[in-house]
Amino acid sequence: MATKPQVNINEDYDRLYGFHVPERSVFKAEPGLDETKVKQISGMKGEPAWMLEQRLRGYRHFMRKPMPTWANTDLLNSIKFDSIYYYLKPTAKQGESWEDVPAEIKETFDRLGIPEAERKFLAGVSAQYESESVYHSMHEDLQKQGVIFLDMDSALKEQPELVRRYFGTIIPPADNKFAALNTSVWSGGSFIYVPKGVRVGMPLQAYFRINAKNMGQFERTLIIADEGAEVTYIEGCTAPTYSSDSLHSAVVELIALPHAKIRYVTIQNWSKNVYNLVTKRAVAHEGATVEWLDGNLGSKLTMKYPGVYLMGRGARGEVLSVAFAGSGQHQDAGAKMIHAAPDTASVITSKSISKGDGRTSYRGLVKVHAGAERAKSTVRCDALMLNEESRSDTYPTMEIDEQRVQIGHEATVSKIGDEQLFYAMSRGLTEPEAMMMIVNGFIEPFVKELPLEYAVELNRLVQLEMEGAVG
């Protein structure tokens, strides 16, 4: 028999990502939220009046909207909105090149490997630290083609027309409590505009990190792919380990105009005291494709249901996700596909693994509106349970108001088969190696869609999480 290593998962997280450098913010609002603070944030940023209006509308809806009654109400109701810092400005001005970025922030990102990744693979990179983007660059040839890749605050200044035209059109301030909160206090995030027919060959990347404790991070991302354009966007997230909890509540809106293609990749590895409550939604017009690749490894509670509204004939949506819940974690993730036009197609593939007393839940919706003839949708959810205390739930909803459709759903929940283990071990693998191999095979459909360096990273993260799983 193989030895059974006892590993505290958080220990590894601390060493790799849990570091924090002393906070040195230029401006830190008082904790808690009221209208004055919302005005203060907008004022500090020198925003146009319409954005302040939008923020105030968001604030009012946030105060009025009830907490969601699903997922994990105990955890949700334990969030202390009054002790959260809603805005932190880490440095006075945004650096143009890596050298301009203050030393302690640079140190943070060096440890995360950002500039190296940029040099090697990435077309553009934007890193968000606390609330605002501190560093941002993009290859010249993309700039020449008219691709705009800015942090959201700069975009509001430099591309006011584009921002105003699309901001909040997919996820309005009243959408849900956390989208309302984001609308009122958002800061940073990415703005991408890809002009007609331009295909961005290499992925654009952003990295988000929370450093201060009790900090809320509310980035706002808006991606517009004009007709026939193509873009892939990747974001990663981490936070140091503090004893008190942090809140991450992003809003991401994607707009794929006719025949455009957007692929959005997230690997979420927040530390295990972050509430990750985000709203992500896309609109796909005629012939357009939107793909969400969503990896959830970190956080205490994640509630995330990326959606695609298929609004034009032949639009296509795909969500491919992996969730890993270790002890003390609840990953409540899923997908929404709204078929509102004929000949639309959607595929949802969800792979989840729960370990220790971790809990994974798939929660999804496939809605076919009357008139969306020949719509096709396939949903497949597979769950692996590694321990007796693990829990796995599946809550899919299918609402079909059109006859000429093909809608299918399948789900399985199981543990690693003894025969599988026996087979691998009879070929000379130890039990942990055999389990790792089976888990790798289980998440393979997701991993093979990732860019190489992310696939390597994800495999390594899963390996870390898997340590101590035997027994």
Partner: protein
Amino acid sequence: MTEFNLTTIDQTARRLNEPAWLIELRRRSLARHAELAWPHPSDDIWRRTDVRLLDPAQGFAPTAPELLARVALSDAQLASFTRPLGEERLIVRVNGSFLSPPPAMDHLRVEELGRAAGARPEAIRRAIEADGLTDAEQKLASLNLAFHHDDVALTVAPQAGPGAPIRLVRIMAVRPQQAVFPLTVITIGAGSAVTLIDEYVSVPEAPGTGAPHLVNGRIEIVLEQNASLHYVRLQRLDLHAREFLLQRATLAQGTTLTMTNINLGSALTKAHVMTKLVGPGATAKLYGFVFGHGAQHIDQHTLQDHRAPNTVSDLQFRAALQDESRMIYTGLIRIAKAAQQTNAYQANHNLLLSRTARAETIPMLEILADDVQCKHGASTGPIDEEQAFYLMSRGIPRERAQRLIVMGFIEPIVQQVAFAPLQERLRRELEGSLSDGG
């Protein structure tokens, strides 16, 4: 006018000559109903049906004793509902009374609940107590427990051999706006094997008025150790009926239940079909078929509740929907931590036969044990054009080809009915009611 209050409870209980504890349970249930809130629309299990339509306080009247005496059924109607299928043991109840004294049969006792509650209080109390029901379920089920009147206890003694199938036909002749509360408690003794067909028919006295009537039913099935039951529920309510049904089965160690629910009638149905596997090695095979037509609204919830190790459940619910009918299926497999080595399956397939039919399906899993095999599948779509084309290329006209395909869709469920003459009748009935053109 009679109302849903303590006076009605006392009248009903006195007429049925019930023991004190059962009357007390009725009274407590009414109080429970009053203190519970109606299900909230944010609850996924309830949001798609307007539960107020099932509230007797919205203009319905309880069944007064004088109504029971009047049977507005013609001999021809009665004969058509009670025509034997084959060699079954037939028991007929009309408006809460046995048509003829229940036959004295070996090992089988069929009696009114009040009598059983007097003779075996603990067993009956255990069967009908509300344990494990949600507040929302209790809101409606407590009405049945308060006002049940057409109630039957069917008890099979231990170690009884299979014998001929038992067929219990319940005929309810109802007036406009009447509310009826049938309750059935079925107990299969240890080691016995039985086939039971449980049929519900409602006949409005004045069908022309279009007024609804309310049927709030409850069925409790208890399988004692190593018992085996083939159970078929045939719902033939009138198309003006609004139905709430709570149907539960409790499976002890080593039991096998094969249950088929066939829904042919009612304007609106909200049915909760729940199976509790409480003993190791219990097996439940659960099948259901809904034939939706007209403006029917059928909301079907199922629960496969695995509480013991080595249990197996296999569920398959199918719906064929024509006209403007609407089917809602919500199903949950719940596997408790103790229920290791469990195998659970759940499938819901909906066939849309018209452009205005609708189907919603929410198959859910909550798994707290790790050493399990658990799967579910759901599909919704129209008739497969390739299949229709194949049949048409063999010279079969389109209408007939469609009917054949629908019959093929229904067949896996019909085949689970463990009584060949009933299978035959169901096929004939279903084929006859499929409208041409689809």
